[in-house]
Amino acid sequence: MDRIDHAASELREMDDLAALSSPIHSIHPLAKLIVTISYIILTVSFSKYDLSGLIVMLLYPVIIFSISGIPIKTCFYKLRIVLPLVCAVGLFNPFFDKAPLMSIGSIAVSGGVISMITLMLKGMFCLMASFILVATTTMDAICAALRKIRMPGMIVTLLLLTYRYISVMIDEVSVMATAYKLRAPGQKGVHYSAWGSFLGQLLLRSMDRAEEMYSSMQLRGFSGEFQYADVSPAKPKDYLYTVFAVGIFFLFRMINIATLFGGIALGGSL
């Protein structure tokens, strides 16, 4: 049950990363949210054979990783979750789509291979983009940004509360799992006789906890919504960043920069 401890350390790590300071961290959360979403949409919208066009999108995560100083290793570690499903879907492409699309020397490359690689790259790029968002923005800031774009207060409050309590619950489940493991050595998971009671016990306790929580929230003047620490208003640099980044993405999407550069490198005979 190391998964639980892993999850706990992953959460903590993301929190630590978001608390760093860098030019990227200081950008307005809403600007980062808009840039991230446009990046993901434009990346995914590349045609499945447009591998050379897609490659250029790599520059955004690389540049941001470089400026903000967040470790790229942590991001790649998360790929283990994304890639299996994407691969499972993409792996069949080479078998069904055998029409040769291009050739490298004398080796013909089929459309299926290209579309498989494109799909995997898309999965990777999108993951990097959302990783950058959470690694450079605290949860409070993201929630404040969501509130700014008129996300219902109930959902934002729920998001904040849940996020806060996930680490508490993970700790509790982790302690319980360790206790269980020590009493049931050599067992792979929870025995079926304890299926109900294991989480059920915690559930009952948590429901009481929720009631206490509500009482204490009310005592502190909770009236249905949190008052958020105000994010400083957007500065000109935030607007500039948004316009510039989104503009560049559109440019990359419209012009195949890689082919353009390649053509120039090959002697200008485009």
């Binding site: 490659i55 690389v62 990783f131 998971g189 009236s223």
Partner: protein, 352 residues
């Protein structure tokens, strides 16, 4: 069953976002109308609990493998469909943001596939009718309730997982991502999720029965006097609701299938070379070669190009484009590596 961003095309993702947003809006509206702010901490704690609970391995007797908990049915049985749905949405959002499970763009689809079916369909079409129905009149009240909980959670988990898995297949196919034929994809997904659904159903059952024994008042609909209600939702009404749902989903999907996402994409962005030129109003003839400066630049370029002899006679050919694509990609990769190294260099300098 979390879909990654790469598995969806933007139009499909948008439609799914709209559908999930509608369900979210309705849920928020309903909860606000009830003015039940007390539910908020309960929802948050339950969501956090399900999140942590999903990481526990449950040994499946007789096999070497283990199963996991899925949240939808458990949350809606505890909190009701609207609150359960919102809790699931929040779990999915956090999973996609912090654990790379799913994706920001695929969030709408994931909410629909897991939260909507798990909470609304699972609750209104399965949990509520079974709990309210007079199914086991000969049994003692408590035993009957227990049997009904077992029935509802197992059926609920299987049905909601099947519909969810089917939606994944439909969404991926509509997005034009996989070359896998629709039927084969279905044959791959549905049986696996049948087994998963059964195991998840049993785990959910175990937890709900435990809660029922200890604190039955925590469960929705369990205390509703069986028989007294005489089934607000009769079988007939259930079937009608189901039919309406099928028609709605089918209608929406067929509308969409005809619009052919690939064609739409092509029309939007123009993937052929001609499309690029047209869109960008570029013509290769007057591609900046007119001015004197550019001529000079061209001659410089010819001298500095690091593969000067390597040029295709017919650069219009697909092979020519492919090779420049590969070379260009390599340039991008080198540039990316360079930026990365430079960044590290400057940071180290700053720290020193």
């Amino acid at each position: 069953m979390h879909m990654a961003d790469a598995l969806l095309s933007p139009p499909v993702a948008t439609v799914m976002y709209a559908a999930s947003a509608a369900a979210t809006g309705i849920s928020v509206h309903k909860l606000k109308k009830d003015e039940n702010t007390q539910k908020l901490p309960t929802m948050a704690v339950a969501a956090a609990l399900v999140f942590a609970g999903q990481m526990i391995n449950y040994t499946i007797p007789g096999t070497g493998s283990s199963g996991h908990l899925s949240g939808g049915m458990l949350l809606s049985a505890l909190l009701g469909p609207q609150a359960g749905f919102l809790s699931m949405v929040v779990i999915l959002a956090i999973q996609s943001l912090f654990f790379a499970d799913g994706g920001l763009m695929a969030l709408g689809a994931n909410c629909w596939n897991m939260a909507f079916y798990g909470c609304f369909v699972g609750y209104y079409l399965i949990w509520q009718p079974i709990m309210r129905g007079r199914l086991f009149p000969k049994m003692e009240a408590k035993a009957a309730a227990r049997t009904k909980i077992i029935m509802a959670s197992v059926i609920g988990c299987i049905v909601t997982l099947q519909t969810g898995a089917f939606s994944v297949v439909v969404e991926t196919s509509l997005s034009g991502i996989t070359e896998l034929p629709f039927g084969a994809f279905c044959a791959l997904m549905q049986p696996i999720h049948l087994a998963i659904g059964l195991v998840e159903g049993l785990i959910t059952t175990a937890i709900l029965i435990f809660v029922f024994e200890a604190r039955p008042e925590l469960l929705q609909e369990v205390n509703a006097k069986t028989g007294g209600h005489k089934g607000k939702l009769t079988l007939k009404k259930t079937l009608v609701a189901l039919a309406v749902l099928v028609v709605m989903v089918g209608g929406a999907l067929s509308l969409f299938a005809s619009s052919n996402p690939d064609g739409l994409e092509w029309a939007l962005f123009g993937n052929t070379e001609a499309g690029y030129n047209e869109n960008m109003a570029l013509d290769e003839e007057d591609y900046g070669i007119e001015s004197g400066l550019s001529e000079k630049a061209a001659s410089v370029q010819e001298k500095t190009a690091f593969l000067p002899d390597y040029s295709f006679a017919d650069s219009e050919s697909a092979a020519g484009t492919a090779v420049s694509g590969i070379v260009g990609s390599a340039i991008v990769a080198v540039a990316a590596a360079g930026i990365s190294v430079l960044g590290r260099f400057f940071r180290k300098k700053k720290q020193a």
